[in-house]
Amino acid sequence: MAGPGTSGGGGGGGWRPLLVPLLMPTWLTIGIFLVLPVALMAVYSFLTKEFRGGVIWDFTLAAYDQFFVDRGLFGDEPPAIEWTYIAIFWRSIWQAGLATLFCLLVGFPTAWFIATRPASQRGVWLFLITIPYWVNLLIRTVSLKFLIRDNGPLNEGLMALGVLDAPVTLVNTNLAVQLGLFYSYLPFMVLPIYAAVERYNFALSEAAADLYASRWVTLREIVIPVVKPGIVAGCILVFVPSLGAFLAPDLLGGAKTFMIGSLIEEQFKGSLGNWPFGAAASMILMTLVLCALMVYARSASQAAGQGAAR
């Protein structure tokens, strides 16, 4: 087949016919585990709900209407904006953003610390970071609740030491949810930043110091911009699952800390659920996240193209 007529390019080997079979696993994986479920959700969000869970194949916008439009308790009032779910979304974004920030503040120095240890020790530190993740997330979250409840070891210990007079209530507060999210997703921040810092060429820091930059300026002008892909990856990896998390808010928070994840989860649970509504909420969440990522990617590629302007 590889005759004189073969179009130019690489070394002209016979790999071209193999392209499709070789890419098959990738396509299948993406198709079955990504495209199909999302497409299913998209379709479900336009169907009619069945009362004991499930759907009826009648296309309708009812789910989105329920999310955005308020027609009163009996559906007979003039339509107004429904704030309930938007408020839950807003609170979730805020919570997830805060958790991401905390993870970054703790994760960056941690990653830096590990990446600057001698190569022989790094494995041990990384191992220590990942050990808790060998235990199921549910168990860990319950354990955390046990630790911080009013008569748990934390409060009792602090009271025994005389630091506290009365237990501090943490369970069912925003703080507890934050703690849960932070604890759940910290490694997702540490690992990508670690990978970036490990590749960082420390001669760049020396060059900056040589050119009269202080340590702080070197961090701001050289280190952070160079390891930024790792930071961004870490933030995405923490923010996105935090946004959809339901274990930490369910177990550690209360009604006041209700988040999107719990809202969606409830729609698919038991006979009280509403599959199309859960699907619609998922789609809205996904659209939001995708838009945010696209805006970021846009601004990042623009910034890369105009460094000289500074």
């Binding site: 760049l204 060059a207 900056a208 110091a209 040589d210 300026v217 460094g307």
Partner: protein, 356 residues
Amino acid sequence: MAAVQDAVDIRNVTKRYGSFTALDGVSLGIADNEFFTLLGPSGCGKTTLLRMIAGFEEITQGEIRLFGDPIAGRDPNHRPVNTVFQHYALFPHMTVRDNVAFGLKMKGMDAASRRARAERMLEMVHLSAFADRMPAQLSGGQQQRVALARALAPEPRVLLLDEPLSALDLKLRQAMRVELKQLQEETGITFIFVTHDQEEALTMSDRIAVMSAGQVQQIGTAREIYEAPVNRFVADFIGETNLIEVEVTRVDGDRAEVVLPGGHRLTCPSASRTGGRHALSIRPERMSVVAEAGADMLAVVERVVYLGTDLQLMVRLEGGAEFHVRLQNSARIAVPEPGARIGLRIEDGAARLLAD
């Protein structure tokens, strides 16, 4: 000469890493406006010394002064010294122009002036057209020149260069040698240049310090080091030489009389003050082939290697020592055949007795 202050004054500096001594009592004075080269084989401590001047490495013992000021304890960003790093260390997220302007920005120069100065520096290294590129979009030689422009832009009083040419190909390396030397003369900045390439050192430097195993072996001009090496190491490391063991019969100040293989006596310059057996260094190109009658040494030709401009004769001396002779290739010389017996004559002053 007396009162002129050295730009860099290195006094008895020692550097230890744990129990390993990387530098052992190094003392050097580098004059202002000088192109000074640290030359030595890999691992001899050149980079370590440079890094101590720049402030990246602590001094274990001794003192370094910059224009009379002791600099111990001053951070790198507070020293009037800039470095061209071996692998350039250009900031990958900044354009060429921003790289060059970085030091100026840190010194607090306003945006318009630093832009103008960055342009001027880029012009000097012939890279004006590349100001808006990112470092990754440049060739090795271009990156090297950006690193140079970046280090020169803040007008340091001393520029440190750590093997800046080692990653370039031969042609470019030769061109850059000339450019670097010109740049140093134009700017009047003191250059301290590190290399393990003796040709590089010989062609560019005002003075060279030859280092080995953490110690300075000899300091001098290219000519002094090439023609009057003080010891075996320097003679062997710089250029090509023949080292033969000889018996010293008389020492008279800086001259000595020695017995050559074959029994002839020769009086030559000496770095050694003692009698006994010492190494005699004779450069292969400072020999001529003569009739046996007027010869200093007799030898048998083993191989003749044609090198274009030169001919190399590999011969064996009376007594069995191997010896190289280099002759300029010209139509007038008769090329000896392998196996022929020839006489060798040592040019006046070409042989030198070494201290060990």
